[in-house]
Symmetry: C2
Subunit: 336 residues, 2 copies
């Protein structure tokens, strides 16, 4: 009888990004100082503050569309890094950028990219303080941002409590509708801007953290449903999200009506909005909402934290499991 | 008469890495807090200390040889980042890693890479506190390290004075001879280790900085001659380097003799040694040397700082200009 030797070689495409990250953290000898592992930022105790650090790499395989201008690429990498500081309530101190570029890259392309990066950093009252350029086959940019937050103002991903209101800043679906437009060659600069020029919620994060009442917070870089599942696992709780409360962006509603789209799909399951998702006890929600509105942005209650460890979507009095449909690297759900 | 419109499009391969970095810094709005621009690390004032930050990206195009094990790749990216902290006399606080990996990467490959990175970080009493994995066409890893140093112990690249002794820690040519072995398929693990597993001089940097007498310091990641030219430009001075004083590694001397090599070329012009290059006033050199020797490492005087803004190599009583032959990205002088 012939025996077949079956050697199972796992590849990271089977694991997906989050499992790959879990694998990494199991191997690492944990530093005594770091408290933010598994959060948006790593956090170190530094006198009365935490020093926050986060890193994000983008490349032509994942985030860089051929339709993006180099200025937008520069903006994008700075914005998504700042978003991680925002989610912890931090004030950014500065950023470093590593640029991996093909040899044939034009000087003007590099200049425009740096102008976009610098513009975004300056707008959020920080600066790019160092970097590195290296040859790479395809454009690959890695940004690392650092900031500080007072220890008692740090907004962790952990802390969601049963009964908390679940809320999001701003509008959802900006990146989703941008992605739809991109895929269908709809040349609408405003719509594409929602995808290519995300807004880091630095000001909002700082205002929220100073209130010292936010129970848990993260940015929704990977999409709302995916973010909810991440919070659900970390906090051993569940969520009930009310579909009709979702603050979908006007661009999505308008294009959705023209193109007959399932607009909620774009608001729930597409990464790239970079709004803040938070939970806060229900008696404090109205005060938090009013404080946040002073920034000119909005805070919308979209549901509540429940004991049952499931994520439900409530729609016309029926309650269904919300699928975890967000963006995950290595899993073939790439944007571009 | 026919006119030819000649549009000159500069590409970054014409600029080279250092000019590309200069171009970037001209565009950036300088942050008020950053003092380390153009140095090994960016440095921020943080109470009585500087917070040091540095970033380095490696990829298959530049630093990752097919002969490296994944463990060595992990070690390498951590070591070269730590080296920048060492050059400023800093104590590392932690590191973040961004891993850009092809989808087909094996799980075991990722595990080994993380083990190598973690081993190096732990050996130098720090840890990897966060990271990010993303899909990339080719392996691209970006590390960002941060550390602290007391303000009065920060070792700047600027400060070299006429009459200073020029000195290097450890041995030179470790990476050069490794590169030769690699190119000529010489399977010698010890020699290749010099190239693939550089040693960050953290302990040495901390001892040197505490003496508060080092006038200028940098790591020689790009090779000795290139590093001397970088210091020369920053400090408006020149150097006289004595060829016979160069502390070449035994592996280079031995292989050089077998293969009839110009061993000085490998000691002077090859990047990858990651030793510290410093200048210190001549009356303090002996004390510094003795302090450093307590670490088990050596400090060798290789020449002196001169007024004339040239870099000379002295050899058998003749003085010639030392060419700037170091490694520079985008210029076609890549290692692998």
């Amino acid at each position: 009888m012939k025996k077949t030797l079956c050697l199972i070689v796992k590849r990271i495409s089977d694991l997906g990004e989050r499992k790959a990250i879990q694998l990494i953290y199991r191997i690492l000898s944990k530093g005594t100082e770091a408290i933010g592992i598994g959060d948006d930022c790593a956090a170190f105790e530094f006198k009365d503050r935490y020093l926050l650090v986060s890193t994000d790499m983008i490349s032509e395989e994942t985030h860089i569309s051929k339709k993006m201008t180099p200025w937008q690429i520069g903006w994008f990498v700075v914005a998504i890094n700042l978003s991680d500081i925002a989610a912890k309530g931090g004030k950014p101190l500065g950023m470093v950028l590593s640029l991996g570029l093909p040899k044939k890259t034009h000087e003007i392309y590099l200049k425009e990219m740096i102008k976009g990066a610098d513009f975004c950093a300056t707008l959020y009252e920080t600066s790019i303080v160092g970097g590195d350029t290296k040859e790479n086959q395809n454009i690959t940019i890695c940004g690392t941002v650092f900031g500080t937050v007072k220890k008692d103002e740090f907004m962790s991903r952990k802390g969601a409590k049963q009964g908390d209101v679940v809320a999001v800043t701003g509008k959802l679906g900006k990146a989703g509708v941008g992605y739809y437009a991109l895929q269908h060659n709809i040349e609408n600069k405003k719509i594409l801007k929602g995808l290519f020029e995300p807004i880091p919620r630095i000001k909002e994060g700082m205002i929220l953290s100073r209130l010292k009442v936010i129970n848990s917070c993260m940015d929704i870089s990977d999409g709302l449903s995916s973010s909810l599942y991440q919070l659900q696992k970390l906090n051993n709780v569940g969520f009930e999200i009310e579909k009709e409360k979702l603050p979908l962006t006007q661009e999505l509603i308008k294009l959705g009506s023209q193109e007959n789209l399932n607009i909620y799909k774009y608001g729930l399951h597409f990464g790239g909005d970079y709004e803040l998702l938070l939970t806060v006890s229900s008696d404090k929600f109205e005060k938090v909402k009013r404080s946040l509105e002073k920034t000119g942005n909005s805070l919308t209650s979209i549901g509540r934290v429940i004991k049952n460890r499931k994520v439900y979507l409530i729609e016309e009095n029926s309650r269904k499991i919300l699928p975890d449909g967000g963006f995950e690297h290595f899993k073939g759900s790439n944007f571009f």
